[in-house]
Amino acid sequence: MTETPKTPRNLVLVGHGMVGQRFLEAFAERGGCGPAGDWHVTVLAEEPRPAYDRVHLTSWFSGTTADELSMWDDEFGVQHGIDLRLGDPAEKIDRAARTVTARSGQVFPYDALVLATGSYPFVPPVPGHDAAGCFVYRTIEDLEAIRAAADNARIGAVVGGGLLGLEAAGALRAMGLDTHVVEFAPRLMALQVDEGGGAVLRDKIQELGVTVHTGAGTQTVETDADGAVRGMVLSNGATVDADLVVFSAGVRPRDQLARECGLPVGERGGIVVDASCRTEDPAVWAIGECALACDGRVYGLVAPGYAMAETAATQITVAEGEFTGADLSTKLKLLGVDVASFGDAQGTTEGSLEVLYANSREGVYKKLVIGTDGALLGGVLVGDTDSYDLLRPLALNGAPLTAPPEQLVLPSSIGAAPGPIALPDEAVVCSCHNVTKGAIRSAVADQGCADVPAVKKCTRAGTGCGSCVKLLGTLVGEELAAQGVEVSRGLCEHFTHTRAEIYEIVRVKGITTFAQLIDEHGRSGTGAEGCEVCKPVVGSVLASLSPALGDAVSGHILDGEQAALQDTNDHFLANLQRNGSYSVVPRIPGGEVTPDGLITIGEIARDFGLYTKITGGQRIDMFGASVDQLPAIWKRLVDAGFESGHAYGKSLRTVKSCVGQTWCRYGVQDSVALAIELELRYRGLRAPHKLKSAVSGCARECAEAQSKDFGIIATSAGWNLYVGGNGGMTPRHADLLLVDADRDALLRTIDRFLMFYVRTADRLERTAPWIERMEGGLDHLRAVIVDDSLGICDELDELMSRHVDSYEDEWRATLEDPDRLSRFVSFVNAPGTPDPTIRFVPEREQIRPADPEAHDTSDASAQTFVAGPSLEVRTLV
């Protein structure tokens, strides 16, 4: 392999799953293919789509698209000359001729053959296992079929209570099915957790409404006259009614191709390979779930598969590197329950000792396995996996613990909180890409990476399963601090405080003006002007707290000194557009509007010559109003019963909804009524950033609630509350906070969530990064606003109730006050004269801004006009 021949050699990769794709990347990185490489690569893939993230397959049910799961980039293929053949699996290998025949009949010669055929789901051969309504859980196509069937199903059963089985159960439950899990072993996730952990896990899963049957096999699948599933009989005699059955009873290596061409396979399957991932035939490699590694195991996890892919890629390019075994640690969240296991979780090492903490009331179970030398060997965590990031590398490192092990399992509220436990440099932080703490430190110290994204790019750490990203953030922060990089937390040059600190100062000291705040607490002393950063922040904090501060501070954001703090949008209660005109968005709660309301909006837009467009938040935006026109437009809207939609403010925008149970044949709750109630409750609440919400009437999620700061999805028993989602530049799905809540619990929790956010978030920090930044994350948030761990819930409730009581429409209040109205003129010395430079041209039967260049020429083109084709002139008195 060390000499480079002149003519390109052929490499055929059979299978394009995650491991196959990782092999291609590793092979390209090592120069095997691409501009400088001397290999031509052909990939024979069975599935109709390129490699995708099978680990996160379940997220497809919660809205992640197949495109988002995809791991393939066409440009990568072109750059490296990779010939990817989808839907054309290999059917025959001729080792003597060194050729592979594909289903299409085409024959591909090879100099090196890499088998990455993965595995297939094992379906127990019980009677009825192939009836209509029986599924497996492996590909996107499987999931599509399950979802289609779930539409007409009421009860679902999952055969297999392992990791994947519980994920499948979670998906069925989320689709509104009554769900059963049937597990042959005496406990759930028997491979990963021990008896105690399994018991806690079982309780937690049952709490979520999934019925668990353990120690029970499936004897038969019962069918009705049409041959469709109607239930199962279990080995313990019990029967389970079900319209849909998902088999998730483990996988088997796909080694058929290898068997047929005479390569040795293991007794229980798996293509036999050595430490370099090579089979008996020196021209053939096997990697991932189809391979039986040299330690005698078939690995069903992605990290070992990746390690094998790297080994094979290195072997083929430079003839070094070995795979001798891998870490089987797992951490996952199942139906909202945290489960993790790492290292020697079952305590099989001779002489090992256990340190155990179990609290069945809280649903927490933690076990550490300690070796005779005091080193951490492994452990099981259920219900609280916060310490996993730290414990796993400690266990892999094998060094004796520097802290008493009980400190590592006790909750921090009991006794001393665990002090910082230093990870050694050799500790592997990212096991997907085998990146050590030392490599991460070096990326910061020697290669100038200043944040987590830079370190990810440089080291690949955190780009696999992503479970180490939190630890990565801590390590990068520590290393930056060690380098003496000071990360200033102050708001701007005028305040050394964060927004949350300013909020507390204003609240505790009862400060009512910006002047008082900057004079007493600013960096530069009395009389400072402030700036575009601190002024709107203080304006927002004063507005949020105004109901609590009482009469001393006006609630209206255009009053007195507060007027000078607002960005232009808040200042004019409208949205500034590129040519200096404004747009106006009336509130349409929940997107529900009467025909008369629509006609009114249409008439106003027509009379003022405005461009109209439906927004993404189920409302109507009217563009092209001049400053002078705003009060007249509002007057017409307010007279017709509309009010400000706060499209201009860092405040609640819209609570989107689907049509819900009232009309929709799938809806299980009245999503429109709830959306309207929420929108009216939280309208006008000033926050660190805009707030968006949505309510979906069933698990089909037509309102896209999981992409909102707070989103609600109806269940047959109540409402599920999700928090911390957003669209935009870095989209994020929201996290599940409440399950099956009733209306009161839902409102109470959202009240607290919003007020806690308003109180503690940074400037322009949306709820998603706020939760991610929070120490303890979602669990901490839940502790504060559900369990009242900080004892502040009464205060948060009181603040929200004052907000709700003191709400007034800002447009109406402006119209009623001549002082406020007086600023809505284009020119202070020529009221009534509109800005002559604001010009429009027609487009698709409406107006659009004329190009700015037209403004500077003295004779604007005949096509430009200063308002719409018709203009109603009205004056306000």
Binding site: E493, H494, G527, E529, T568, H571, N579, V828, T837
Partner: protein
């Protein structure tokens, strides 16, 4: 170019007004009290759009109203601030800072059309005038 005015007290029968000098003539623009501290107004003076401000110390500033980056006449709607001790106005469109004393942009040297990114600055003063003379 700009004139600081600290005395805002009305004398009997008179009110303080703001005047801007354009083309060697002084134009009365508005009553001093019409300016909210920290905020601006736009005025049409001799066919030009001028943005007027009063800052927290009471000083008055006058600059051109056209934002060189967007071409829109919106500078008067920006926030006043200070950056490294320099009094500035922030364009409400894309938030560039302009030095109120010189009109120079502190963030970028050139506007997208290749012209220097600066606002014209006008001499401004306050005087006492009989009530009603300010429009």
């Amino acid at each position: 170019m700009t004139t600081a005015v600290m005395n805002t007290k009305d004398t009997a029968g008179e009110t303080t007004v703001v005047e801007v000098s354009v083309g060697e003539r002084w134009f009365t623009v508005c009553a001093y009290d019409a300016l909210v501290p920290g905020r601006g107004v736009a005025a049409l003076v001799d066919g030009r759009q001028i943005a007027l401000y009063r800052d927290r110390t009471g000083a008055v500033h006058a600059v051109g109203n056209r934002d060189p980056f967007s071409g829109a006449h919106v500078i008067s709607r920006g926030l006043l601030g200070s950056r490294d001790g320099v009094p500035v106005v922030l364009s409400p469109m894309y938030k560039q800072a302009f030095d109120l004393r010189t009109g120079a942009c502190l963030d970028e040297e050139e506007a997208p059309d290749g012209t220097p990114a600066a606002l014209p600055v006008w001499p401004v003063r306050t005087t006492n005038a009989p009530v009603g003379s300010a429009s």
